[in-house]
Subunit: 533 residues, 2 copies
Amino acid sequence: MAARRSFWAWGLETDEPSREEREQAAARLSKRYGREIHAPAAPRIEDIALRAPRVIPPAALASLCTTDAHERASHSYGKSYRDTVRAFRGEFPNPVDLVAYPTDEAGVLGLLEWCGGANVVAVPYGGGSSVVGGVEPPHGDRPAVSIDMAKLDRVLEIDELSRAARIQGGVLGPALEDQLRPHGYTLRHFPQSFEYSSLGGWIVTRSGGHYATNHTHIDDFVESVRMVTPRGVWESRRLPGSGAGPSPDRLALGSEGILGIVTEAWMRIQARPRFRASAGMTFDSWEGGAEAARRVVQAKLWPANCRLLDPVEAGAAAGLKGDEALLIIAFESAEIPQDAFIREAVRIARESGGRIDDGAILIADGSDEAVGRQGAVGAWRNSFVRAPYQRNLNVGLGAIGDTFETSITWDRWPEFDTHIRESVLAALQRVCGGGTLSCRFTHVYPDGPAPYYTFNGPGRVGGELEMWQEIKNAASDAVIAGGGTITHHHAVGRDHRPWYDKQRPDLFADALRAAKKAVDPNGVLNPGVLIDP
Amino acid sequence: MAARRSFWAWGLETDEPSREEREQAAARLSKRYGREIHAPAAPRIEDIALRAPRVIPPAALASLCTTDAHERASHSYGKSYRDTVRAFRGEFPNPVDLVAYPTDEAGVLGLLEWCGGANVVAVPYGGGSSVVGGVEPPHGDRPAVSIDMAKLDRVLEIDELSRAARIQGGVLGPALEDQLRPHGYTLRHFPQSFEYSSLGGWIVTRSGGHYATNHTHIDDFVESVRMVTPRGVWESRRLPGSGAGPSPDRLALGSEGILGIVTEAWMRIQARPRFRASAGMTFDSWEGGAEAARRVVQAKLWPANCRLLDPVEAGAAAGLKGDEALLIIAFESAEIPQDAFIREAVRIARESGGRIDDGAILIADGSDEAVGRQGAVGAWRNSFVRAPYQRNLNVGLGAIGDTFETSITWDRWPEFDTHIRESVLAALQRVCGGGTLSCRFTHVYPDGPAPYYTFNGPGRVGGELEMWQEIKNAASDAVIAGGGTITHHHAVGRDHRPWYDKQRPDLFADALRAAKKAVDPNGVLNPGVLIDP
């Protein structure tokens, strides 16, 4: 039998760190914080008393449902800092009452119909990787069922001529790629949550993936969406482009489970890249690197990767001295050698002060398919995908740490960055007595970057959530006051609601509320996410 | 005083063809159709008795409003085939009652507020170029005011760093470009209606413009929208990218005036191109040309132009023999020489049977800014923009002719094309006793082309509208039955409603209806467009 997902850690139960590994982490933190820290025992599901289920599914749906405590606990939280701390503590005051695994669209329809009649809340669940409270049930008297789409996990059809595939919404990243690979294709959507996030989840959260420029969000890769709402199926036509009214797909994209559950989508897929070229360029200043990134993307070279690391991140992640910014530019193509592209990008970046030896520009000419998939790029991708496991080690030890991300127009940069750093570092000082903040650009647009911040500070065991919340509030307040978006690709969920409410036009919220009411008249789906009922 | 717009012809009154020019057109058609045709007198506004205005504006708004007959007639129709025939005949059974020219946002708000209270329909009007009944008032007892945004025509702000500009919604294409040009920028959005279409109109109709690949529709150039609804202002944040809920802008895009009137938008602008490269390649077959276009765009070379003309169009428009298809590929950039790009595109297209001498590949190296803006490309653009004037000549002479456009995934091509040609040629035979149909790709996507069809047939003076409608119905039925969209960039308006209703998900229509009700509770804005009240 395959290993179960951990109910508190990122990954499987077999990924949970051992007592020894956690003691080693505690020793490292003891040294860093200058006080003695010990690793508490990891939680065991059998020690946790969950509230008894408040609802019983009807006989016709009973075979899809479980009240198993491990399942209920696993489905009550996502994987945010806050979620991991609460789960590690065994704090589950508001668990979902049931977990359902529909095996087909009829099952999803049946579940939503029952929820509507029985006043039960339905919480759509893909891979459970939300870091914004997106899979957590609302507080209140209504029972809640988590609808886990894991069994709708197949690539149903590949249209090689159009480079598109019909894919079920519940498939997780690795299984999706495993089904496309034998045909020579890939979706090439690699969010950090790749291992435990689903196609449907990507669509309803407007996930940002592999590509750093041009088409970045999953939005642009959606050809059509099939979604089950409480009133039935909503399916758009497969179209390469259209001007017929507002795009139905663009209303489904970002709807975070309040309008329906994505059962299938036609997705634009990619031929697997053979030609690659990349360059890591150093800059004396963060500003110089930002200018280079801006100019490369404004020249519309559209590199697949265009990540700028501030000196702190460049030091930690790439072994630089800590006083240089690093701009990683990479191109890839299934059809076309990429030398000309990388040389133009390097030429432009050099004009903004970027340094690289010509010999350090890496070019894979397509003769060996493995080249470029291994080496530095492969290592970076592995470490990127492994990063969420790091949190497993430190939970319960009092460390405060999280990431937040946004996007901002160039005219507000770098003042925006200064403002964010001042606000968050002040909060870290106030709350933790100090800490660190670093930044990278994960995506770059002609009109502005998508900065991604990481903060860390020493906390107190038992006080982590309040401390984290104060810093998170400071960061979110600064992002919104500075003109950014509360999220570039992490979504809104329940956690970002207060700031999302300041960001979106009030009249759009009214329109969205009305649209939801039209397809979900009983308010079954994710009440309180994005809008109040 | 500047010349007025013609109330029946494309352009200004000074663009109306003379009696002599129309007699020459009649002689040409007489020869082609083999029967004697004479040009009737052009209509004069003073000969047309419009229904008396059914409403009087309140004193506070009176200075913005006019009941002038020329204004009312001009604002009662767009510029479709049907509109031009009706206007030329002087048939205005359902004119707007008033035309209002707000001078600022407060004026727009005031007008909508009055409409709500007085049960008056508001029809937003930009350049009046709709070919789908998009600026025509609904039939019925409610009086209608056309809100012409012409006086909100300024570029308010240019953010050079972010390459974005804040622009008022009523500005027409030429005035917009005139205001960007001194700063070295351009929106580079050149629909065929360019001279008489507005930024706000482009946004609410999801206009398709200059670029044939990658970012084609105005959608992708919108950074934020400010829109006046009957309940007040809806304004989104300026953001390069976001994942915060469904995009508010994407609901405004394509809303065709049913949700609000765009008063301002931040638009992503372009540096003026200096480097250009282009190639016109011939193919023995239409299929070979389509394969080449598909492969170039699937290779993600993203040419600015990638237009494929079938042998008929290549013969008529480019002087070829009529047995070859023509693929025009062109690249442009403000920053980067484009030789490498065009050579890759030519290499790929040759693999699909494309022919061009190396010496015929045109490359402008940026040393002379004028190169490439003149010559063939300039001539083509001029003839493209001049095309709508051609209809002025033939109206009233019994000629039936129109265009329709769609998009379709590659897996359905070329069967889709075969089906369209059979259906429309059969209709032409039945209705006109014969006629011609030709096709070009105006835009090309990795997952499919956007084919654009032109049909012509001999009609009867006085019977044009019924004959046109039968052919239009056959074309639209075939497009929808074949899996296409009823419009790739012409919009839905009142004319495409029956087919749009088959295309969009029913539940999306319910959601859109509810969203409209939320921002336009009295149903003031364009009732009957996109959805029924």
